[in-house]
């Protein structure tokens, strides 16, 4: 009789990485639904396309690396990367823009660094930043107009044909500058009231965008409730953004109001789904708070004083750079120790 030989513990909880990732995907669905309701079919098409490219490019690289393809694809992490890009790219972004974004995310930012768990940068945001810098026209002119403003909403087939065409710009009547973009570029020459009179703004909020952000917020809260993500990064992120906005942006004639910062652009998607990517985020609770707050501060700085209307990708990537540093100085205090052991072994610090 041969008994199974195994090192302790012998019991395991049943929530593998693949399920964690599946929950992330499910929690993002309300947001996708809101995007579809308020901005048309573009996001769904993008999501499907991006996930397909993500899986294909991951499979190709895994094959080259002689890794078990099916086993690793089943962890669903490539699908999540594709999903996040599909959710964050402009609705009418041409297929090749999203293709480049996803491929570089998976191949360069993830697999070339060693695959899952070894990438220092958030793959989706690497892809996003790459296409944002490389194809600024395609990345700024293809945002869908809120569905409420469309005379005749583009059908699924029409949307698909726009995305499938190789052109950098979509049809004028269907697209519009994003609220953050609008505010950023108009406020220098207009008063806040004048800017907010633009149809992209609703009752002081960004039309449609506020629902999308609210839906991502709900999905994010579900993830926190399921203990798939911890509250530290999103809370620190949002608190920092609010504090920055209150500290600097009280004058609406100069800077976008707090409501726009929270409910326009990629704020909630960034706070709950992107910044919380565990691989590229800080580790300890304290570290996560610093990391999240850093992103919030950077988003505000770039949105207000930078060249880009939104800044989730850049802020996340910049804080990814800081993660090893943050981790180094924020280990938790271990039971039975007076102080946390910071720094390097043998270093001057305790």
């Amino acid at each position: 009789m041969a008994f199974v030989q195994q090192s302790s513990p012998h019991a395991h909880s049943a929530r593998p990485t693949s399920k964690v990732m599946l929950w992330v995907i499910l929690a993002a669905l309300p947001g996708l639904l809101a995007q579809t309701l308020f901005f048309g079919w573009g996001n769904i098409i993008n999501v499907v396309w991006c996930i397909a490219i993500a899986l294909a490019s991951e499979a190709a690289i895994l094959k080259l690396r002689n890794k078990p393809v099916a086993f690793i694809l089943k962890d669903n992490t490539a699908a999540v990367t594709g999903l996040l890009l599909g959710l964050s790219l402009p609705q009418f972004a041409p297929w090749w823009v999203s293709g480049v974004a996803v491929t570089s995310a998976i191949v360069i930012a993830k697999q070339l660094y060693g695959g899952l768990g070894s990438n220092p940068f958030n793959p989706a945001m690497v892809g996003y930043a790459l296409v944002l810098i490389s194809f600024p026209v395609a990345m700024t002119t293809n945002w869908a107009e809120p569905a409420l403003l469309w005379d005749k909403a583009p059908s699924f087939a029409e949307t698909l044909s726009v995305i499938a065409s190789a052109k950098q710009t979509a049809i004028d009547g269907w697209t519009m500058a994003t609220p953050l973009d609008e505010y950023k570029h108009k406020i220098a020459t207009h008063t806040a009231d004048e800017v907010l009179a633009h149809p992209t703004f609703g009752e002081g909020f960004a039309k449609g965008w506020e629902w999308v952000n609210a839906a991502f917020l709900v999905g994010g809260l579900v993830l926190i409730g399921l203990k798939i993500i911890s509250w530290h990064i999103p809370v620190a992120f949002l608190v920092a953004l609010v504090v920055m906005s209150l500290a600097f942006g009280s004058n609406e004639d100069l800077y976008a109001p707090l409501s726009l910062h929270l409910l326009a652009g990629g704020t909630m998607l960034g706070a709950f789904f992107i910044a919380t990517d565990p691989v590229s985020a800080a580790t300890s609770h304290q570290g996560k708070l610093i990391y999240g707050a850093g992103i919030g501060v950077l988003i505000y700085l770039i949105r207000i004083w930078g060249n880009y209307p939104d800044a989730v990708a850049f802020s996340v990537l910049l804080m990814n750079f800081a993660v090893p540093f943050i981790d180094h100085y924020t280990p938790p205090r271990t039971y039975g120790h007076h102080k946390a052991r910071r720094g390097l072994p043998g270093g001057g610090r305790n």
């Binding site: 009789m1 008994f3 199974v4 030989q5 195994q6 090192s7 302790s8 513990p9 012998h10 019991a11 395991h12 909880s13 929530r15 593998p16 990485t17 399920k19 964690v20 086993f71 690793i72 962890d75 992490t77 695959g115 899952l116 768990g117 070894s118 203990k227 911890s230 565990p278 691989v279 985020a281 580790t283 300890s284 981790d327 280990p331 938790p332 205090r333 271990t334 039971y335 039975g336 120790h337 052991r341 390097l344 072994p345 043998g346």
Partner: protein, 614 residues
């Protein structure tokens, strides 16, 4: 009462499926007497005991059959009467499946007790006497570690135990040995606790029990009625029964890293240990049996058994109705910290609290290991507040120094991190590996340090010997020079009317001598200047010194060579021949130098006279 006790929480923790009800439906049963008892000589932490019986001896139940000869430990007793069948190596319960020295006892079926000395009023004893009884009853911690109880009950003099904690948390799933003991033997538990409290005189005495054992808590509440003992019912959360965690829950204090609970005035004892202490004092019985949980879905009658120490597991599993065809994994201890067995041919020992015969679906093998996604679940549940994912990273990269810096050695291997890991990484295994490697490195470092110290000491010794030799040589040379001077002075004195050695004469002789020397040197200088072709007068002196130096050098070189040759011979190195040749060569060189020196001295012995007569 329990509601008034302030409780603290510890970081993290998990709630695995308890599966305790499997083994709590029946009261504790006696497992009976097997055909053979195998008693390992080491069932505790410390040094193994030595047998005090020989093969063929007839022993009575409770008779001491092995005792401590050196180091820390507790004796072993015969669990029943019978004959010593053999003493030798048999498989013992150990993760490695190793064999160790055991005494094999063949029961005679009479179960005849030896003389026992129960003590009704332990308060009439000296505390040392009570500790001696606990020691000779062979009691060691029964919660798992097996630390000798009498030693634990004697904390360092400067450490006063303020709080005595009885650990009845039993947080590991499946195990119910302590639970059933508390339910059925609450009075023994409290009696044993009182004895320990009397020995330690703490200010506070508290029993910690998880709230998933209401029956046991009720029994203890009744047993502690009217006593000072507090009963703390704590929330069920693994690993609340870990010593450090229970202390934190009940006192809010943390045991310092690398320290013991007594450092903060706390001591933990196990429920089973308390019962053993009560039996030792009030019945005079040594520790010869214990309660063991036999559970898992592969046994038909899971439950708790009162088992004689040394009972083979296969006998015990048979009692519980093991289904041979269904069992896939056999675990000694709990599912979180226990280890798998390769064979059932190992005995129950003092620390055996549970055996799980699990079917395949019950504790399935984890899925293949995936990449760590740094999700931090492990850090969330770590009761020691470590960073398991960083430790894993460093352990995997063999960056042990960094792992140690992140307090690897504070890990209690509770397994909570592995339990929650979504990538099913066997984290604890990585930590054990890293700890093992670091221990090996430390041992090697120690060895290297010792070797270096030895080498340096040898170098110093050789140097010292060399210096001493040099000193002796110089002294010899000085003595020789003095002797020569004396001889010369005597000769001069003999010239200056021999025996009349009055002070004045001596003084004038000295002055004369000095003058003569002065004269001689000036003359010599003049001669040198005048006749450089005749330097022979001064030369011998210089030659002698050079030769002496040469001789000394050759001699020391020869010694070094000889030492090297000896070393080489001892190590059977392959350069022995070469060294032998070198030694002979040096030997010749020394001889030559000696001869040259002797010749030079001979030459020198003559010229001074000619010089002085000049």
């Amino acid at each position: 009462m329990s509601s008034t006790i302030k409780l603290w929480d510890f970081n993290g923790g998990i709630h695995p499926a308890e599966n305790k009800e499997l083994s709590t439906s029946r009261p504790i049963q006696s497992a009976g007497v097997p055909a053979q008892l195998v008693l390992p000589l080491q069932q505790h932490i410390g040094a193994p005991t030595e047998p005090t019986v020989a093969v063929g001896d007839v022993v009575l139940k409770g008779q001491k059959i092995a005792d401590v000869s050196h180091g820390m430990g507790v004796p072993v007793h015969a669990p029943t009467s019978g004959v010593i069948e053999s003493i030798g190596d048999y498989p013992v319960p150990h993760p490695s499946g190793m064999a160790d020295r055991c005494i094999v006892l063949k029961p005679d079926g009479k179960d005849e007790w030896c003389e026992r000395y129960p003590i009704a009023d332990y308060r009439s004893l000296e505390r040392d006497e009570a500790l001696a009884i606990i020691h000779s009853a062979g009691i060691s911690g029964m919660g798992g570690a097996g630390f000798p109880t009498d030693i634990k009950l004697r904390p360092p003099r400067d450490r006063k135990v303020d709080t005595l904690i009885l650990n009845g948390a039993e947080c590991e799933p499946y195990i119910t040995a302590d639970d059933m003991t508390m339910r059925e033997r609450a009075n023994d538990v409290v009696a044993g606790l009182k004895v320990m409290a009397w020995i330690l005189r703490p200010e506070r005495c508290v029993i910690g029990i998880e709230d998933n054992k209401p029956e046991a808590a009720a029994a203890l509440r009744e047993a502690t009625q009217g006593t000072q003992v507090e009963l703390a019912v704590i929330p069920t959360k693994y690993p609340s029964g870990g010593e450090k965690q229970l202390i934190q829950i009940l006192t809010g204090m943390e045991v310092p890293s690398g320290g013991i609970p007594a450092d903060i005035g706390v001591m933990c004892q196990n429920v089973g240990t308390a019962v053993a202490v009560a039996k030792a004092i009030f019945e005079g019985s040594p520790l010869i049996s214990r309660v063991v949980t036999v559970t898992g879905e592969a046994v038909i009658n899971p439950g708790n058994f009162e088992v004689l120490l040394g009972t083979p597991l296969n006998y015990l599993l048979y009692q519980a109705g093991l289904q041979q065809d269904r069992v896939s994994r056999l675990i000694l201890g709990g599912p979180m910290m226990g280890y798998t067995l390769t064979t059932t041919a190992v005995p129950v020992i003092k620390t055996t609290n549970c055996i799980i015969a699990a079917v395949a679906s019950e504790l399935p093998a984890p899925p293949p290991e995936q990449a760590c996604i740094r999700c931090g679940q492990c850090a969330e549940v770590c009761p020691m507040e470590l960073l398991p994912q960083q430790l894993f990273w460093h352990a995997k990269a063999t960056e042990f120094e960094k792992a140690e810096h992140l307090n690897l050695f504070d890990c209690i291997e509770c397994g909570a991190c592995s339990y929650v890991c979504p990538s099913s990484i066997p984290l604890v295994q990585y930590y054990r590996y890293a700890k093992g490697e670091i221990r090996v490195q430390r041992a090697e470092q120690l060895k290297a340090d010792r070797a270096r110290e030895r080498f340096e000491a040898r170098q110093q010794r050789l140097e010292r010997e060399q210096q001493e030799k040099e000193l002796r040589r110089k002294e010899r040379a000085k003595a020789a020079a003095e002797a020569q001077a004396n001889k010369k002075a005597e000769a001069e004195r003999a010239d200056a009317n021999g025996e009349a050695a009055d002070e004045r004469a001596a003084k004038s002789a000295l002055v004369e001598q000095a003058l003569a020397r002065k004269r001689a040197s000036t003359e010599a200088n003049n001669a040198k200047v005048a006749a450089p072709t005749e330097p022979a007068q001064k030369k011998p002196d210089i030659d002698i010194k050079a030769l002496e130096k040469q001789f000394a050098q050759a001699q020391s070189k020869l010694e070094t060579m000889q030492a090297m040759l000896e070393d080489a011979k001892a190590q059977q190195a392959d350069n022995v021949d070469k060294l032998e040749r070198a030694v002979t060569k040096n030997h010749d060189r020394v001889k030559r130098a000696e001869e040259a020196l002797a010749d030079a001295r001979k030459i020198q012995a003559t010229p001074p006279e000619s010089q002085s007569t000049e």
